[in-house]
């Protein structure tokens, strides 16, 4: 059985601090959609930075799609992330001066693997991006607007389209709904999961909000898998 995420005997501490993460074993199956919940300061951000390959665990192993991240060099981790993981950030991280459409297209600009998958779909990246944005509710004129002029909700949908373009195997979302009211938040999550399912994309949704659990296959509390008591140094 292939796992999208597999964590083994992971231990991580920020420099000079106490142990932030101590996860004996945890895995996410391919195709699953998982909500990972924890209060702020529980080590969510640290775990995400390990999954994204920005930081490397001092002990143990983190594997994504059967690829162990600790065996990869920094540059290869960058490439692996660009090719296989769609990432939606808490602050959406759009380039303010690019149009919504160009922001989405950035996803394929630096990833040959995503370009390839787009090509296999028989459509151009631009056509696909337009489709995604349309489904996420951005009109043609909104798609051409600079990201800076879009509302928070619109920016978030652009970020989602970017994460999904080129059908990455794994989608990681870090509190993307914290700036939305509850109606819009629920709509957004449903749409996100629907699109992910079409692409066979595994979803890991990280939040502090337990009420979203109903939409996901599985709801996990970080405190149940993490034995470390201490939080991140930012807490």
């Amino acid at each position: 059985m292939a796992y999208a995420i597999e964590i083994d005997h992971l231990a991580f501490a920020w420099q000079g601090g106490q142990l932030t993460l101590d996860i004996p074993h945890w895995q996410v199956e391919t195709g699953e959609s998982v909500l990972l919940r924890g209060p702020s300061g529980s080590g969510k951000s640290t775990l995400l930075s390990l999954l994204a390959g920005i930081n490397v665990a001092q002990q143990g192993n983190v594997s994504l799609l059967d690829q162990s991240l600790s065996n990869l060099s920094g540059r290869k981790r960058d490439r692996f992330r660009a090719n296989h993981i769609g990432y939606i950030f808490q602050q959406f991280n759009l380039l303010p001066y690019l149009s919504a459409l160009d922001n989405v297209l950035l996803a394929t600009q630096f990833s040959p693997k995503r370009r390839q998958r787009v090509a296999e779909s028989g459509q151009s990246a631009e056509q696909l991006a337009i489709q995604y944005l349309k489904r996420l509710g951005l009109s043609a004129s909104q798609q051409q607007q600079a990201a800076a002029n879009l509302s928070v909700g619109q920016q978030q949908r652009v970020a989602a389209a970017r994460a999904l373009l080129g059908a990455p195997e794994l989608l990681i979302a870090d509190e993307p709904t914290s700036a939305l009211d509850s109606d819009r938040r629920d709509d957004f999550i449903k749409l996100l999961l629907e699109l992910s399912e079409q692409n066979n994309t595994t979803v890991l949704f990280v939040t502090h909000d337990a009420s979203l659990g109903q939409y996901f296959n599985r709801h996990v509390e970080l405190s149940d898998i993490n034995r470390a008591a201490g939080g991140s140094p930012h807490a």
Partner: protein, 419 residues
């Protein structure tokens, strides 16, 4: 990548525009120094062609050339008519034209010569002088005007002019007893010929010798060196210099040596091209100083760009993080910043070149009126291309600094933005 760089720059229009302006102005300056030098040299070189030797009283080569052809400065001595006659009868000499200087009309130099001047004097690429209006003078009390002289003094064919003694703008001794008829105006040549007024040698002699009694008295103290008027077979007793054409150009060097070392009246002979080279050589120090200064100005412009790029890195840490998050490696960010800086430099250099042409077109008229120099519009020369390349390469090298900083910063910050 290029598209991304352009859009990112467009997002920071104001600082990008200021950078471009600063560099463009410095590039224009750098190119202007080269262009002025090159055009001045071309103008000077264009002024005399077809003249193999210039012979005059003993003086420095450069002084003689500048005074006789360019009407810059003056000659302290004169050359006797006898020496001129002897020179013109030399068997190597194909033609010779005497010229006598020292008078003026409202500051425009008067060149007293013979009809041979119009026949033998050539400028630029062996071009003869041509008349715009009227005809050549054929006896004394007639004058032919250069194009600028006619325009500035507002003289037309048929007008009369009064020659003043001396070359200053205002002369207290006007030869008002001898009005001269304007019989011709020359076509524009873009050389000092345009500034000059041509009269017959005899005219000058007449007005200096045959003045009314009162004028003669006035001039007595000024003309002490000129009173050998006894010999009336000669058009004049002394001249300023002679332009000489030889039967064979190859003989110029020998003739020059012969004249410079001959017994009798001490004379100087020079080859115009060689003397110009000598002049440029003496001016090279100034040229290099100007080049040095303009190069420093360019570097200051580029340092301004460096400052702006470095300062922008802070506010762009978010942009960098986003690019990293979508898979751009630190190397890509490095390339992005270099592309951006090189793009800025190229735009600035092109604008600098455009600015140079705009200045040249708009100032050409003023420059010509003030100095008589005709600045030709032309494609950038090889030297100018090299200078532009220097600027772009320097811009590229400078961009490595912010690019390296961005590289390091993106490695340290990762994907998170530290606000």
């Amino acid at each position: 990548m290029l598209k991304l760089a352009i859009k990112s720059l467009a997002n920071r229009k104001t600082s990008a525009l200021l950078t471009v302006i600063a560099i463009a102005v410095s590039v224009a300056l750098l190119l202007a120094v080269e262009r002025v030098k090159e055009q001045v040299q071309a103008n000077f070189a264009n002024t005399v062609s077809g003249t193999d030797l210039i012979v005059g009283p003993r003086s420095g080569d450069v002084q003689l050339l500048l005074a006789s052809v360019f009407h810059i400065g003056a000659l302290n001595n004169s050359m006797s008519w006898q020496s001129y006659e002897k020179l013109s009868q030399n068997r190597q000499v194909e033609w010779s034209v005497p010229i006598s200087l020292g008078d003026s009309v409202s500051g425009m130099p008067v060149v007293a010569t013979t009809a041979g001047y119009f026949q033998h004097f050539k400028y630029a690429n062996q071009q003869p002088l041509k008349l715009q209006h009227g005809e050549w003078f054929n006896h004394s009390e007639q004058a032919v005007l250069g194009a600028d002289a006619a325009e500035k003094l507002d003289f037309r064919v048929g007008d009369q002019l009064i020659i003043a003694h001396g070359t200053g703008g205002i002369s207290f001794s006007q030869h008002s007893g001898h009005p001269i008829d304007v019989v011709g105006v020359l076509k524009r040549t873009g050389t000092p010929v345009d500034q000059s007024i041509y009269v017959d040698l005899k005219t000058l002699e007449d007005i200096h010798g045959g003045e009314t009694a009162s004028e003669a008295e006035e001039h007595a103290h000024e003309h002490t060196g000129h009173d050998e008027h006894a010999d009336h077979h000669h058009p004049t007793s002394a001249i300023s210099a002679a332009l000489v054409g030889l039967k064979s150009r190859q003989m110029a060097l020998f003739m020059q040596r012969d004249i410079n070392t001959a017994d009798g009246e001490p004379l100087t002979a020079l080859m115009p091209g060689q003397t110009l080279q000598q002049l440029w050589k003496t001016l090279r120090v100034f040229e290099q100083a100007l080049n040095g200064i303009s190069a420093i100005v360019v570097i200051i412009g580029l340092l301004g760009m460096l400052t702006i790029l470095l300062a922008s890195l802070r506010e762009r840490s978010r942009e960098m993080a986003v690019l990293r998050a979508v898979g751009a490696g630190p190397g890509t960010l490095f390339t992005l910043l270099v592309t951006e800086a090189v793009l800025l430099t190229i735009i600035a250099t092109a604008s600098g070149l455009a600015l140079l042409y705009i200045l040249q077109i708009s100032l050409a008229g003023v420059i010509q009126q003030q100095t008589g120099l005709l600045f030709a519009l032309q494609w950038p020369t090889a030297a100018e291309w090299w200078r532009m390349l220097f600027v772009v390469v320097a811009g590229f090298l400078m961009s490595l600094v912010p690019a390296w900083r961005a590289y390091r910063q993106s490695l340290a910050d990762g994907l998170t933005v530290k606000v």
